[in-house]
Symmetry: C2
Subunit: 311 residues, 2 copies
């Protein structure tokens, strides 16, 4: 059972707004509803969240007094802003952080966020429980926020050695109240997983489009692009700023996964060059089988939805 | 206006069967309906096409007398078999080819097919008009054949210097009667286009799955794979044998496109490694814009359908 008197959400967009909506819908796993403070990058973004009834109190990030008030005696603080802003937000939060407040985040990379948190919070690092809800939609912003965005979705927590177990459980209970399935793993493992299954596919998709654009016959090529190109490059419609930040924030893990991928491409290149059909067919068959198994397990586990845009 | 007394289709699967169905539906651009001979790899595959009413006469490929009869005085011969079988089929066809018969094909690579045709047909190469209908479905075989598979789809012809213009026009008229839009380009240009927008995306998709499978934490990674992975690897469900053959048949063009792609990946790797956000963002933004333009043009040109599995 999760309960709170005061919840402060930094960044009331799709991710933060959807958590607020989920809790305000008073689900079964939630105690008496407390007050939700939304801290927006601008006064207008927070005001919009207030207008939509997503939060109880709107605060602008540059209103230091307002931020201090939002943080005073807060039970939980959620940082739901782009990863590149995490450090400066944590520095601001650190100035007003009480001893009983737990801070968590929703960033799609974890090692870099933890480094930023150690710098910003110092000896109070134990109050920070790193998290990552795996959910998204094509559209962003608080207008896109949904009470059931986290229903059946995965949330990964990457507890630190300094965390009190009760604090980790409390953040877990908050996400469970919103309908999510909780998982725990190390930050390094988290970053490797999402580098492989999310960050690298995005980089590879952007690269595929760019490779065509660099060719003198780009227009002709694009005019004949069909199903394979469409599927492969759909995720190249994602936010350049967000993916720039994710690539940099998850640099080490992403480089490892990128090198593994280009290693396989080099194997395939050699097989194509020498006409080694046996290598090509066995690798393709293995991939097809694994992809088909994955698809079947997804379909069978129907309560796990695959979001269109999970960072 | 396309008309024929006798059409022989080698390979009565999805592609050959759909052309037969389209012509038998007696579309506007077709003269009086002639006889359609279907030559199957086995007696049973041709018999199935006959049973479904797709063809008028079924012949097994190893029935040399039957093949000779199918080819005698044929107006048009269509080879709609996997590209790796093209040369041996053309050698068999060459043994029975009359002087007024035009041979065309539906292979998804063209330079290799033309080399095979020159070897098999020698001085009669002018009778071969290379073609590639850009159409497909998730399912294959004659049971999946549709009369409207080519409606609004692109067909590329790659005329040879030796072709009589009237013969090229006649093959074009056949595909137009089936509802297709005709395009002409050189075989080298064709192979570069499809290496870039179809063959490379398939190779990259298979490689992405393989890179994950090689990792010790493959199962954990796959359990957290979501939208990006799903979109990027959907085409890894394609036939390993078909893609093995296409990779080998289009070796030269595919290697060029693969090298261009890995060149972009190397640029991105360097930018990630040095944390060069400006390079990442500008490249991502350029790709996103081009992909969005492509999607809008596709949507606007609603009569061009994007098939799920165009080789």
């Amino acid at each position: 059972m999760f309960s709170f008197n005061k919840l402060a959400i930094f960044g009331v967009g799709l991710i933060g707004g959807s958590l607020a909506r989920a809790l305000r819908a008073q689900p079964a796993g939630l105690g008496p509803l407390g007050q939700i403070f939304g801290i927006g990058r601008s006064a207008s973004s927070a005001a919009r969240a207030l207008e939509l009834g997503v939060i109880d109190h709107a605060v602008a990030l540059n209103d230091e007094t307002g931020v201090a008030h939002a943080l005073a005696d807060a039970d939980v603080v959620l940082i739901a802003a782009p990863v590149a802003q995490t450090q400066s937000l944590l520095e601001q939060i650190a100035r007003h952080l009480g001893p009983r407040t737990i801070v968590t985040d929703a960033g799609s990379t974890k090692c870099g966020v933890i480094d930023a948190a150690r710098t910003a919070l110092g000896s109070r690092i134990g109050q920070f429980v790193p998290g990552h809800p795996i959910a998204g939609r094509e559209s962003s912003g608080v207008d896109a926020a949904l009470a059931d965005l986290y229903e059946g979705r995965n949330v990964v927590l990457c507890p630190l050695p300094e965390n009190a177990r009760a604090d980790v459980e409390r953040i877990g209970a908050m996400w469970r109240a919103a309908g999510a399935r909780l998982h725990e793993m190390s930050a390094a493992q988290h970053d490797a997983v999402f580098a492989a299954v999310s960050h690298l596919p995005h980089v590879a998709s952007f690269a595929m489009v760019e490779a065509i654009l660099r060719a003198p016959d780009a227009a002709l090529k694009l005019s004949f692009a069909a199903g394979g190109f469409r599927d492969f490059t759909r995720i190249a419609a994602s936010s350049p700023e967000m993916w720039r930040d994710i690539c940099i924030a998850n640099r080490a893990a992403l480089l490892r996964e990128l090198d593994a991928y280009t290693g396989v491409l080099a194997t395939l290149r050699a097989a194509i060059d020498t006409g080694d059909g046996a290598v090509l067919e066995s690798l393709f068959a293995r991939s097809r089988e694994a992809r088909a198994d994955w698809g079947r397990e997804r379909a069978a586990s129907s309560s796990i939805k695959t979001p269109p845009e999970a960072g």
